[in-house]
């Protein structure tokens, strides 16, 4: 009989209150955001008209513009993405080792490495590009460093997480054989994170191809420069060609990355 008297509740009163408070905060945020954005009704009403007008100007795309101008810019974009990804890994791997609590047992060092990784992520690649254009002047070098510095945080965070999830047993076993720390990392930790490492590398390269396409808008080289020029001169048929090129490249990169990942993991 006693069993029937007991009452089961999924949430404690405190949990119920917290959930209600979260829902309330969501609604407040939404209302606040809509009021703040201040959509101008006149612009909203003729938007479809403007859009049709733009598409008409874009059609047919000026495919003759592809070679040589767009092609060369595209190759530069691919170089920016690949080199930027490579540089990112050179910095991100040591930072990930320092950030992983099971690899580096000093909380102060972990926190410092995490701070660097967060700093890298908190700045958008366009902002990094503006900074590096100021340092190196306009061109592909600025783009490469922008891509690299934005990627360090992303890559470092994911690698650090992969490191923290590895099984400690094999590391302990290698330590017990008298192996130095470097050997333990190489033969105990690396095999465990290798799939994650290649997965992150390919994924970031894929993202960087897309990101480096827009970096040209702030003068950091690549296909974005040609896009910016075409827009500034209202050559919408050329803009269409460039947008199509970017689309094709992103799709091809996606296909390559998916195939490679299936092979590597």
């Amino acid at each position: 009989m006693n069993a029937l008297m007991r009452e089961w509740q999924r949430f404690t009163p405190m949990e119920r209150f917290t959930r209600w408070a979260v829902y309330f905060a969501l609604v407040v945020t939404l209302v606040w955001a809509v009021r703040n954005v201040e959509i101008i009704p006149e612009f909203l009403i003729d938007a479809p008209e403007q859009m049709v007008d733009l598409l008409v100007r874009m059609w047919p795309p000026d495919l003759g513009h592809y070679h040589p101008a767009v092609h060369h810019a595209l190759v530069e974009t691919l170089h920016i993405a690949s080199l930027g990804t490579l540089f990112a890994f050179i910095f991100a791997v040591p930072l990930a080792l320092l950030a992983a609590r099971n690899i580096c047992p000093y909380p102060g060092v972990n926190a410092f490495a995490q701070l660097l990784l967060v700093t890298s992520r908190s700045v958008n690649s366009l902002v990094w590009a503006l900074i590096f254009v100021a340092i190196f002047g306009p061109g592909a070098a600025a783009g490469t460093f922008a891509i690299a510095f934005r990627s360090i945080g992303f890559v470092g965070k994911l690698l650090a997480e992969a490191l923290e999830e590895i099984a400690p047993g094999p590391l302990e076993a290698l330590e017990a054989t008298g192996a130095p720390k470097g050997h333990v990392l190489l033969k105990g930790a690396w095999p465990q994170i290798a799939p994650a490492f290649w997965g992150v590398a390919l994924f970031r390269w894929d993202i960087n191809i897309r990101e480096s396409a827009v970096l040209g808008l702030v003068g950091a080289g690549g296909i974005g420069v040609v896009l910016d020029d075409a827009i500034n001169f209202f050559q919408w048929d050329r803009v269409a060609t460039i947008l199509l090129t970017i689309l094709v490249v992103v799709v091809v990169a996606e296909i390559i990355v998916t195939r490679l990942r299936a092979k590597l993991i």
Binding site: A167, G169, P170, E172, A173, L174, E175, A176, T177, G178, A179, P180, G182, H183, V184, L186, K187, G188, P191, Q192, A194
Partner: protein, 255 residues
């Protein structure tokens, strides 16, 4: 003191406290001859694992001395500690193989204390090590498995690789922490036969933590019973009586 007395493993006043004031090991004194099989039995949580892990310093002792063939292991740091660990092989309950490496590389890992980082990276182990690894794989009954990945093996096969890795070190002492607890009864017997046989023929003393009292009786020449962080029985298997088991494990309904 005669020279022979310094040989083997001698533990004096070993104390381990994970939390200050709550010792898991309460002053262990133990001398293990330079050969022979010693089984440590006792309930879970009584410090068997801690005792073994203090010997190769995977766990840091709070107080006491651990002498292996005359050298105190407790004060060792850094390089000195690694040199000492090379002399002690260990077999684990969960095998602790590197799953994504091949059987051969797992066995060769037993030599990581001897090769340079570059050699390990390029997989350029000395020819003598590779020959030894092959003969150990034959000895543990896995002659055709060298190029298989460790995660493709069964539990019993993995433990065989674990044993080969430990013997690859050419250790002066072999430690086994519950080596059969994850295995079925038949495989457990096979693994114990293999491990005791190989350590005996290599002349390496073996200290094995084991839950199973029957296996301890069957394979060990000496049994150490632990309860509450202390040694409460120490003698040959024939001397282990029900009253001792009651003292070690408590209660009597299970006997």
């Amino acid at each position: 003191m005669q020279a022979g007395a310094m040989q083997g493993l001698i533990i004096k006043g070993l104390v381990k406290e994970y939390v200050p004031g709550k010792p898991v090991l309460r002053g262990i004194n133990l001398a293990i001859a330079p050969q022979g099989i010693t089984a440590v039995i006792g309930p879970s949580g009584t410090g068997k694992s801690t005792l073994l892990r203090c010997i190769n310093r995977l766990v840091e002792p709070t107080a006491g001395e651990i002498l292996l063939n005359g050298q105190d292991l407790v004060p060792l740091r850094g390089r000195g500690l690694r040199m000492a660990r090379r002399r002690i092989g260990m077999v684990f309950q969960e095998y602790n193989l590197v799953e994504r490496l091949t059987v051969m590389e797992n066995v060769l890992s037993g030599r990581l204390g001897y090769v340079s980082l570059w050699q390990a990276w390029m997989r350029r182990y000395p020819d003598a090590d590779i020959a030894r690894a092959f003969s150990l794989l034959d000895a543990v009954g896995l002659p055709e498995q060298a190029t298989r990945r460790a995660d493709a093996l069964s539990g019993g096969q993995r433990q065989r690789v674990g044993i080969a890795r430990a013997l690859m070190q050419q250790p002066e002492l072999l430690l086994a922490d519950e080596p059969t607890s994850s295995l079925d009864p038949r495989t457990a017997v096979e693994i114990m036969e293999l491990m005791t046989g190989l350590s005996t023929s290599a002349g390496v003393p073996l200290v094995v933590n084991i839950h199973n009292v029957d296996l301890a009786r069957r394979f060990a020449q000496r049994i150490i019973g632990m309860a509450g962080g202390e040694i409460v029985f120490d003698g040959p298997p024939e001397a282990l009586q029900s009253e001792h088991l009651r003292q070690i494990y408590g209660g009597e309904d299970w006997l």
